[in-house]
Amino acid sequence: MKILSVENLSRSFGGIKANDNVSFSVEQGSILGIIGPNGAGKSTLFDLITGYTKAESGKVQFFDKNIFGLSPDKISNLGVGRTFQKLKPFADQTLLENVMIGAFVKEKNVKKARDNALEIINFVDLIEKRHHFAKELSTGQRKRLEMARAMAIEPKLLLMDEVTGGVDQKTIPGLVELIKKMKKTGVTIITIEHNINIIMEISDNVLALDQGKSIAFGPPREIQKNKQVIDSYLGTFDAA
């Protein structure tokens, strides 16, 4: 069953087409990896899907509902969560408060929201840091915080923007394992990654973007062999 269908989504900034008629769909319970060189329009695509930036044309269908043009809070309330490439923790709040803010979307009772938040913090292995302010956490821990906060809204679809970007090599395997663990909870994931080995390891399907256009879509092994993808991006892929 398709959880998300995107059709001909477009957005320009000045004369630059950040997304140009992008179309793809995601099966429920799967992981879709999005790859592409810098400036390919990956993060913009997330912004358009989540209503963070208004698309100029196209269609975005979440289950049976057309979410094109809805505000970010309405899209979130339908069950679409996201994390940001440039991290956006609530720096002056504790980790627990950060996650509780997300948990309140589904649970208005303070005690229950706190319990739910603690459960999720435990899930992302940060329970001992729960009373630390977000600004005191390392980059890797902040990545986990954002993942926990997004999970707290109990999303059906989770968009994650470069989870392993900007962290040291030792931190990456733990974050990858966390993504796999999140998938096991039943949430559908779309993830942007620059680390092509990770994308190939975790994704059920891969969407390749270049200069705002979708140049390939399919299982990782097919994408690895796609000449257009190799030319524009995978030339740097050590296993290709």
């Binding site: 970010p72 809070d73 979130s76 956006k88 609530f90 720096a91 509780m100």
Partner: protein, 288 residues
Amino acid sequence: MTSEIILQAIVTGLMMGLIYALIAAGLSLIFGLMEIVNFAHGEHLMLSMFSSFWLWSLFGLDPLFSIPITILLLAFCGVITHYFLIRYILKAKMLIQICATFGLSIFIRSIAQLLWTPDFRNVDKPLLEGRIELGSVFIGQPQLYASLVCLVAFVGLYLFVTKTETGLALQATAQDRHAAEVLGIPSNKMFAIGWAIGLGCVGVAGGMMANYFFIFTDVGINFALFAFVAVALGGFGSIIGCLYAGIIIGLVESLGGLLIDPSFKLLYVFVIYLLVVIYKPQGLFGRY
């Protein structure tokens, strides 16, 4: 000069400081939430005092009992201000935002002068009258109760913002509205709530001050200036900073007037403001 007189000045300063703190907290909450300075804050305070006055004058309702109505009226005024003015200038340049709220202040004051004339008014024989004597210190009952009510309101505001769902959502929106929106928090609603609470604080302070202050159309100007100093001193966006700053300002105003010269009370407060701007522009607890 005896220690009793200094103690008297400290008590007076503390009581005024708590009122300044609550007025400043409303201003700070609004600024912290959307980075817009409400230059009409003094006029909103004036409206709250007139609300108490007219409820007493027309319906015989003592200011002590009309406080909930005044708070609701001011909160409604905050929501109206947001929906009819502020939301249109949220993304505008700062100069436009300043002109908008400054223009609002002139508009409110002019309308008030047109409707009610610039005459001075007061609530005659309110329930809170007289003074109590604690040792050598005399405390006016209206002032004492006003400061206590403001302190209770301040604590309530602090607990609301730090312990409740809406409070945490307000804080989240204040720190990063886009990150808050993707967690399902509607920023426009939060802004309206922020304005309602911010002006509700002014409603509490103004309603209580109507017991013992003269009520006239320019009454809010000095209070708003003190509130700006308190917000700068406490740190823009910091509610707890307003409490410390309000008390410091109240004490400086009172003790400065006693120890140096009462005619320069305003000067002492603004010297603090200048020192803050020069040496600690982010204030005591500020994040800007």
